[in-house]
């Protein structure tokens, strides 16, 4: 399983000016890899995650997951991709406040047509694995930030997708919780998934396989630069991998 981006560009207007935060991005991630997307605010981390999640269509370029070209999907096939191929953990968790933790995890399962009992069982198993076995019937409002984040991760894993995307998963967490979530993401990758995390938090870096540095956005059509660095070499040791075109 691998995820491939080729010559991906995204553009949106900022007032009267068109901004192209990502321009000519090439990226390959294999299963088992935990990759961080890093860079200043507005550099396109979330946009890239949105494109990988099949939510945002790039201006140009191609994104494929295990040979399936995401950028060509539409309608039911796109919904199916979002449902089965990719799990998303949002920065603000985005749990449904009226549902319990278990019911939140059940959503993708039920949406995929799984039976009620089967969905409930799977949701409980996942929550137990993530240390939330005793919080299944709690609503998000009754859970701490870290617990909500783990519920969101359980929801992302419900249908066992090969790709997991996380947007600033540690933004609302304290130091102890950051460590726990980082280890969890590492474990999820080690289970053979592609895990891509957009983050400002370099505390996750030691557990990542690599990080992709995205530069400040440029006004279109000037190209943006994207670089990667190896966490093992430290933040200063940048390894350019994407040539702007």
């Amino acid at each position: 399983m691998n995820l491939v981006c080729r010559d991906v560009a995204v553009e949106y207007s900022c007032g009267t000016q068109a901004v192209r935060p990502i321009d000519g991005l090439d990226l390959e991630v294999s299963s088992g890899e935990l990759v961080l997307l890093m860079g200043p605010s507005g550099c396109g981390k979330t946009s890239l995650l949105s494109m990988l999640a099949g939510i945002l269509r790039p201006l140009r370029g191609r994104i494929s997951v295990d040979g399936l070209e995401v950028t060509r999907l539409a309608g039911g096939r796109l919904t199916d991709y979002r449902r089965h191929r990719v799990g998303v953990v949002f920065q603000a968790f985005n749990l449904v406040p009226s549902l319990t933790a278990a019911e939140n995890v059940e959503i993708p399962l039920r949406a995929a047509g799984r039976g009620r009992r089967q969905s409930r069982k799977r949701a409980r198993e996942l929550l137990e694995q993530l240390g939330l076995g005793d919080r299944c019937s709690h609503r998000p409002g009754a859970l701490s930030g870290g617990q909500q984040q783990r519920v969101a991760i359980a929801r992302a894993l419900a249908l066992d997708p090969p790709v997991v995307l996380a947007d600033e998963p540690t933004a609302h967490l304290d130091r102890a919780q950051v460590g726990r979530v980082a280890r969890l993401l590492r474990e999820i990758a080690d289970e053979g998934r592609v895990v891509i995390v957009a983050t400002h938090d370099d505390r996750i870096a030691p557990l990542a396989d690599r990080a992709v540095m995205l530069d400040e956005p440029a006004a279109a059509p000037a190209p943006a630069r994207a670089e990667a660095f190896d966490p093992a070499l430290g933040a200063g040791a940048k390894i350019p991998v994407y040539a702007a075109t």
């Binding site: 919904t79 449904v96 406040p97 009226s98």
Partner: protein, 349 residues
């Protein structure tokens, strides 16, 4: 899944939804009351015509109806009608109005009939009329044995009818034709119509022949505008009720935009989101309809006019309410369908 999220959201915002359901139920109840009042106009007309039990009505040619444009003629002209082919029996009848002071000042419909004849109650009640007693509708507020003042003449109530009203709930008092002639026609042997058993084939010279359908139309003429107004108000009330449901579902949907975006982003289909909101609207409407029936039952006795909500109206209320509620929620559904899943990502544009 659709129902689960819809139900949980309703539980989550139960106070807000309870207020919306109560307000909508009140509006729907008013709509039901309006329906009941409008239906009572039709029902009292039907009961009045049925109670007279005629097959044909002969009125002076210049009269356009025995109830709204009565014109007098000699009661003896009933003899002409009796000779008409198809007529088994014919009797004169006087359709008049009288004032009363008992039990309070007001007007009544006065019906003078030949006791035991066409248009008259049968058996013991006919004998009461022969004895000079009156048969009054219960809506007048008098019981058997009570004194009844009719345009200054004293009667005693011999029997009480129920639902015998016309012209929007005005009670009907039946007396003998002779009593009616003394009371309102100066004692002259006049009548305003001849009612027949067996339908005449044609009207004799100087008469107009009316069937029961014509008479019902005649009786409905004074309340036609009221009915039209009631229908219009009822329609407005339905719209207001549906509007409340639509507004509450829309506002709730606006608050849930990020939730919808996240659900879309994780692969929940647009169809499921639509179904969830439609289910909410349907459930709220249904609850409102059920509560409306209870409210209508509680309010109806306090309404001065007769309220006769038909079982059909009660049965169709939930259907109409649900349809109207879902239709009113179309805007909310449209917003939810159009939400960009990218909204789920905090900083995504």
């Amino acid at each position: 899944m659709t129902w689960l999220v819809a139900l949980r959201d309703l539980q989550w915002g139960r106070r807000r939804f309870a207020i919306a359901v109560t307000a909508t139920a009140l509006v729907f109840a008013l709509g039901l009351l309006m329906s009941g009042v409008s239906a009572s106009f039709d029902n009292e007309i039907r009961r009045t015509v049925d109670a007279i039990g005629a097959d044909g009505w002969l009125v002076p040619a210049e009269s356009f109806g025995p109830f709204t444009g009565p014109a007098t003629m000699p009661a003896a002209r009933a003899a002409v009608a009796r000779r008409l082919p198809g007529v088994r029996r014919a009797d004169p009848i006087a359709v008049l109005r009288a004032s009363t002071r008992t039990p309070r000042r007001g007007s009544v419909n006065l019906l003078g009939v030949v006791p035991g004849g066409v248009g008259s109650p049968a058996g013991a009640e006919a004998r009461l009329l022969e004895r000079g007693l009156a048969i009054a509708d219960a809506s007048l507020g008098l019981g058997v044995g009570d004194g009844l003042d009719l345009s200054g003449t004293s009667f005693r109530v011999g029997a009480v009818t129920h639902g015998r009203t016309y012209f929007a709930g005005v009670p009907t008092v039946t007396v003998s034709l002779r009593a009616a002639q003394r009371l309102a026609l100066g004692g002259r042997p006049l009548a305003t119509a001849i009612v027949t058993q067996g339908a005449p084939v044609r009207a004799p010279r100087g008469f107009a022949l009316l069937g029961n359908a014509d008479v019902r139309t005649d009786l409905g003429r004074p309340v036609a505008q009221a009915k039209q107004t009631i229908s219009f108000i009822r329609l407005l009330l339905w719209a207001v009720g549906a509007g409340i449901i639509g507004a509450i579902v829309y506002l709730a949907a606006l608050e849930r935009m990020r939730e919808f975006a996240a659900l879309k982003a994780i692969g929940v289909s647009t169809r499921d989101l639509m179904a969830g909101l439609a289910a909410q609207a349907a459930l709220l409407s249904l609850l409102s309809a059920v509560l409306a029936v209870a409210l209508e039952n509680a309010i109806a006795p306090a309404v001065a006019m007769s309220v006769e909500v038909s079982p059909a109206a009660l049965a169709t209320l939930p259907l109409i309410a649900v349809t109207a509620g879902i239709a009113a929620s179309a805007l909310a559904i449209r917003r939810a369908v159009a939400v960009d899943p990218a909204l789920a990502f905090g900083a995504a544009r």
